[in-house]
Symmetry: C2
Subunit: 482 residues, 2 copies
């Protein structure tokens, strides 16, 4: 049944808009299991395209995939003190298996450092076994009280990279390299600009030495942590006794990194590009980049039009354009336009008998501009360049929006007004004190997203903490966040 009621607008209620869009585009659904979502085919197709692109980037940087157990003995989690403190409160615990109570309860993995480094201890003997560069695509579970589709669910899908190195410098290089891979993916595939930088101690991954993050700004001006990369130092190597014989003949603990992105990225994509008509999918990640809608009144017209549609499909497919011909009978073209618009398909081609006769086709772009007739001749190149332009425009528009909602060199009163107004990214000096950070969070709900990397820093470095006025140790980016 075609749903034709307009979505709540983003301006009226961003959160309602988000939920309605997901329902309309059939991206996901609530399940009967508390906190768990169902990713429907339309949403899963976006995740598959994301996986395909990321997986290739991981392999191009020398990583291999593997698979480790879903269950982790409860005692493993406790071996790294910070780690257990961070994750134990949100675990799901299996206490019974095969009809019997287990001797030791098993935790459903919230992340896999412990079980993976327990295996690395077996596999790594010598510096010749390093670096060990492994990635896993998996489901993980973190018990959440307040859930939102894609953004925060008890179970989610992700990838987690886990590497082991012979030196601290190599581990740091890997941590930064994978942050760069994430940034490239977010910009070049998702058309989503991010600010990169280091997390403060209070936002660090439980058990890491340093955590780096990619932070994106959603259309409600809130930040979303889109991907993180952790330098774990030797913390887990010590906890799991992952040692290796060095080239010089000594024995040392390995240096580890871990890094991950999740199905949360689908939520980020929606909130970065969606509009009041529905999803806007960046072309490189769209399941269908082009949808062709045939228009006809009689069987005779249908035959002629469908013949051209089929030819179009062959030509575009041969050029590796992902194309779908919507040949459903009993659904009017207008209803089809409406549905594909809601699902965010970048380009729509409308084809009727007159177009066939004229050797042309009507193009409608998802992100505006008038419909325009295109000659069939050279269509592949025209569509490819339309998609390239769309990608660039989405990226540029998002970046311009982010900059329009960023404020630099804030004072405390400016900061409060900004955060409690429309919000966005506030750049200012930070004294480095966790207490000061906690006070800001308590009073404004804003957190330090990152201590930004050099290219994102303000031209004039702040000298004092924007909140407490003592000397600044680093510039920080504050925002309310998902």
């Amino acid at each position: 049944m075609a749903e034709t009621r307009a979505l709540t607008t983003r301006a009226a209620d961003f959160s309602a808009w988000y939920n309605e869009l997901i329902a309309r585009a059939q991206l996901a659904d609530y399940s009967p299991v508390r906190g768990c979502m169902v990713i429907r085919p339309n949403g899963y197709a976006i995740w598959e395209e994301m996986q395909r692109a990321l997986d290739q980037m991981f392999k191009d940087t020398g990583h291999q995939n593997a698979y480790f157990p879903l269950f982790i003995p409860q005692s493993f989690l406790s071996r790294e003190a910070e780690h257990v403190e961070g994750f134990a409160p949100e675990t799901a615990v299996v206490t019974h298996g095969g009809g019997k109570e287990l001797e030791e309860p098993l935790v459903v993995r919230p992340t896999s450092e412990t079980i993976i480094y327990a295996m690395y201890a077996k596999w790594i003997q010598s510096y010749r076994d390093l670096p060990l560069l492994i990635n896993q695509w998996a489901n993980v579970v973190r018990w959440e009280m307040r859930t939102r589709l894609f953004l925060r669910t008890t179970e989610f899908l992700w990838q987690e990279g886990h590497t082991a190195h012979a030196t601290e410098a190599e581990a740091e290089e890997e941590t930064r390299k994978m942050l760069g891979v994430y940034r490239t993916f977010m910009e070049e595939w998702m058309a989503m600009p991010v600010v990169t930088g280091r997390k403060t101690d209070s936002e660090r991954f439980a058990g890491a030495l340093r955590t780096y993050s990619c932070e994106a700004m959603m259309q409600d001006n809130k930040a979303l942590q889109a991907g993180t990369s952790h330098n774990l130092g030797q913390n887990f190597a010590r906890a799991f006794e992952v040692t290796f014989q060095t080239a010089a003949g000594g024995l040392d603990h390995v240096w580890n990194t871990s890094w991950g992105v999740s199905t949360r990225l689908v939520g980020a994509l929606i909130m970065t590009h969606g509009d009041d008509a529905g999803l806007v999918c960046p072309p490189r990640l769209a399941q269908y980049q082009v949808v062709v809608v045939p228009i006809y009144k009689s069987d005779e017209e249908r035959a002629r039009v469908m013949e051209t549609c089929d030819r179009l499909k062959r030509e575009l497919s041969a050029a590796r354009i992902r194309v779908h011909v919507d040949a459903r009978e009993g659904t009017k073209p207008g209803a089809k336009y409406y549905e594909w618009e809601g699902r965010g398909v970048p380009l729509r081609l409308e084809l009727g008998p007159r177009d066939v006769a004229a050797g042309s086709v009507m193009l409608a772009r998802r992100t505006g501009g008038k419909k325009e007739p295109l000659p069939m001749e050279g269509l592949v190149a025209t569509l490819e360049s339309a998609m390239e332009r769309m990608h660039t425009e989405l990226l540029e528009a998002s970046r311009a929006r982010r900059e329009a909602h960023s404020i630099r060199g804030v004072t405390k009163p400016q900061f409060i007004e900004f955060i409690e107004g429309d919000g966005g990214f506030a750049y200012g000096g930070f004294c480095g004190s966790g207490d000061c950070e906690a006070e800001i969070k308590e009073q404004t709900k804003a957190t330090i997203r990152v201590l930004p990397d050099e290219e994102f820093r303000s031209l004039v470095a702040p000298t004092t903490c924007m909140w407490c006025g003592t000397p600044s140790v680093a510039e920080a980016v504050w925002s309310r966040a998902y």
Copy 2:
């Protein structure tokens, strides 16, 4: 460290050979979690190739991927009476989440019929929503007391297709179609011949109307159930109230099918083709189809040889041959040959300064024949045809081996001698009685693998049950099995 001890031979101890092969080729490892395995990169790469091929076949037959929750409320499992009886005893149960005891325990999915059909009840309204053709790639958990790497583990990876149809005939057609897809995959990708047919009631999926299976014979002459496809009738539709408005305006329950294959296929591949030197990977599923080993004594030679290796890699990659240049320093060519042989790489190219000068390269095939020099000219075509031939030979050899260990028209004494001797597939008449079936299983450990499809049946149909002598209702294939 290079392991150079020979594997236990298949003839000496098939089971030891299997375990040693997996360790040597680094395909998988035991984990500290009872019954759970780690799939190492070399093993996971085979699974990835399997996934790639199967996923394309599913999509080509109109299916889409989606993702459903890992957890299933315990009460859901009970709604279909046979289903709960079949699966409840082997479930892992989550009783605590987020630090609290749950009101209703959650089962870690052993299979997803219940949670998926609960969602279908929401999504399906009318005949226009049918057929609904969805597949899921996921991990599942079945508590196993005796586990074997790949073949039987508490957690395993699989795909499960779940479809809903308007008529019984369509559901039956889908069930058979997907069995055919599995058979095609097993023959054309795994080079593993299978006997297809229907399971008896005692071996039917818990909750299904009819179960069909692909049965392969391993090198120890035991059967391995490699893939199953179930016609679920309206059993789950009734349990979960999945109804739809028919074209005629009435209300009916949908007709469901489900079908799955798992990482068990990696075990099947090992036991179908492996030899006493290690894994033999059918070329279409090999991570690396061709490995190039450079041979040199001096830096000057190395430079010349590596230049040619790199050119070879570009040429073969451009032709979509998966090629790896093993440029490791400090490892001798002989050690590399040994390692790649153990990992089952179909073709190995050896390249030294003399080969470079002669414009040739030395080819070694994993499955025998002498090494032979090949001209660089036309190498792509030569390698492609070598792989095609290898695929065909593996398939034919496996089929010949199966037929050599099959016996038809057995009498009871012949059957007992055959099963308690070398074993294999015994074809004979079956009276249709579950009691008779159970007695045979108890006395010989042999089970009916399938009531074979027509093309596998004997030319002369049996008239009496090979065991009890009463009239036969169908020909059956018995074997001991994994």
